[in-house]
């Protein structure tokens, strides 16, 4: 039993770090911008689709990843523009983009999935190292996750980053100080979805295929990871710093993958995964409300 648990650790770490960028994107929208962005379900497979298609067209893998990041950025900006320019409700903007991206992803791939097992990806050199494949993989994904966490922390302490945080905290106030909050919202959504697309791109290369359905329920997974992470790291009250919030995304992502791996080992049917994740989020958000507290509730704009 215990050795079974241990065996789930490497795979949880590998997948957890790979999905951490997606959770980081969710932190930026839900926590920093207070914008309930559902584009994630579309931008995650978008990153995978762009990378997979370009790699099979023999484009350099690194370049394919960069294009995927750019595609995610543009997708996020579109959601932001729907909300700020066309005044469409924030939730609906995300749902619209996610739906549109489903078709876009099919167009990009030309079919519903592309396998990457037999072609050279960005991760192939790491997989061919003369050691247990988990070691370089975990190391690589950890470096990427913490690298982007660090960059996000830095950015959110710049003048521009402070304005973005204030947009999520008190939009009226930062507008009276001369910030065009439409722009900060669009930029934040772009950056967030760029992270998500990068995560999708890396996950596709890691698992060896891109599938048009791989983004379904992704936002719920992201939220689950963020909520788990926040309770582990302790993000509340005066400790609600940017550094802790971004750390929570990474920690939460790993723990989430660990919980799922353990669940699967104990007989949870893979088909019930999304339900289990959904229930997890409902409990995390709902229990504080049932207890009469307000802490668990999300403060969101435009809902």
């Amino acid at each position: 039993m215990l050795s079974g648990l241990f065996r789930t650790v490497p795979v949880s770490l590998e997948q957890g770090f790979a999905y951490a960028l997606m959770a980081l994107g969710v932190v930026i929208t839900f926590r920093i911008l207070s914008f309930p962005d559902l584009t994630v379900d579309g931008s995650f497979p978008l990153g995978a689709a762009v990378t997979a298609r370009l790699i099979t067209l023999e484009v350099d893998p690194l370049l394919s990843i960069l294009v995927a990041i750019l595609a995610g950025f543009l997708a996020g900006c579109c959601t932001g523009l729907l909300n700020t320019r066309l005044k469409i409700n924030s939730l609906l903007s995300g749902i619209l983009m996610m739906t549109i991206l489903y078709s876009v992803n099919l167009r990009i791939m030309g079919r519903s999935n592309i396998q990457l097992l037999t072609v050279k990806t960005f991760l192939t050199p790491l997989e061919n190292l003369d050691m247990n494949r988990f070691i370089p993989m975990i190391a690589f994904f950890a470096v990427v996750a913490f690298g982007f966490k660090f960059l996000t922390d830095l950015y959110l302490h710049t003048q521009n980053g402070l304005a973005m945080r204030a947009t999520g905290d008190n939009e009226q106030m930062i507008r009276t100080l001369g910030v065009n909050t439409d722009n900060t919202t669009v930029l934040g959504l772009g950056v967030s979805n760029a992270f998500v697309a990068l995560s999708g791109s890396l996950v596709a290369q890691d698992q060896g295929f891109a599938d048009v359905g791989m983004g379904i329920g992704m936002i719920v997974i992201g939220l689950a990871a963020v909520i788990i992470g926040e309770s582990m790291v302790g993000v509340r009250g005066g400790k609600k710093t940017v550094m802790r919030m971004t750390l929570a995304a990474i920690v939460g992502s790993v723990i989430y993958k660990f919980i799922i791996a353990v669940g699967l080992r104990m007989g949870l049917a893979p088909t019930d995964l999304k339900m289990a994740t959904g229930v997890m989020v409902i409990l995390a958000l709902g229990i504080p409300a049932l207890k009469g507290g307000k802490e668990g509730k999300l403060h969101l704009r435009g809902v």
């Binding site: 003048q159 402070l162 945080r165 905290d169 930062i174 100080l177 065009n180």
Partner: protein
Amino acid sequence: MVRLEGLRKIFKKGTIDEKVAMDGLNLHVREGDFVTVIGSNGAGKTTMLNLISGTYTPDEGSVFIDGDDVTHLPEHRRAKYLGRIFQDPLMGTASSMTIEQNLAMADLRGQRRGLGWGVKRDRRDFYRDTLRMLDLGLEDRLKDTVSLLSGGQRQSLTLLMATLSMPKLLLLDEHTAALDPKTAELVMGLTEKIVTENNLTTIMVTHNMNMAIRHGNVMIMLHEGKLKFDAEGEAKQALTVEEVVRRFGADLKDEALLC
């Protein structure tokens, strides 16, 4: 300094709930004036501030600040002209951010915000000195998040933020109304001090007639979106609450004014 010409603003135009909030208002505020604004609920006091700050655009008329026509300038581009404080102490600060981050954001009022570090070390001393003036002990709490502060502390911080980069115009929208009497007195004292020391042009909306008479050099009264009465200089100093009530009691259906 501020000129309002024939301002009209109608809400829900063409519906059964149509409301003429601003009905051809003309107002001239000179540089260095401290104008207090009274009027009952719905008289158009807050609408006037919203039109000046750009939260609303008028249906007719123009707004000039410092000689520039800003009638159609969006809110965020008027920031360099004016600082504004709202009634709700929660509205003027970002609660999840620290005191020094809030001040740093106010420091850049109306300027481009690049990728430079948000809170600069050399400005931090300046923030500390400025906070010391409040005499609330905030100078030792630069890295505390604002959510830890009381309403009065937050409103005092908002006042500092609104005046930190010395805007041309300060708008106060019943900024002490949500505070307990003692704190309100404190914040008003600070306001008076900052405004006088810097000779700031100020427009202060208040529900408290005593305050309107006691502070400022000009007092105006709005009624149904129009200027009903104005007094300045010695005529204003000589005003009493009783006299205003006697003359305009019928238009001031608001007991709050009398306290």
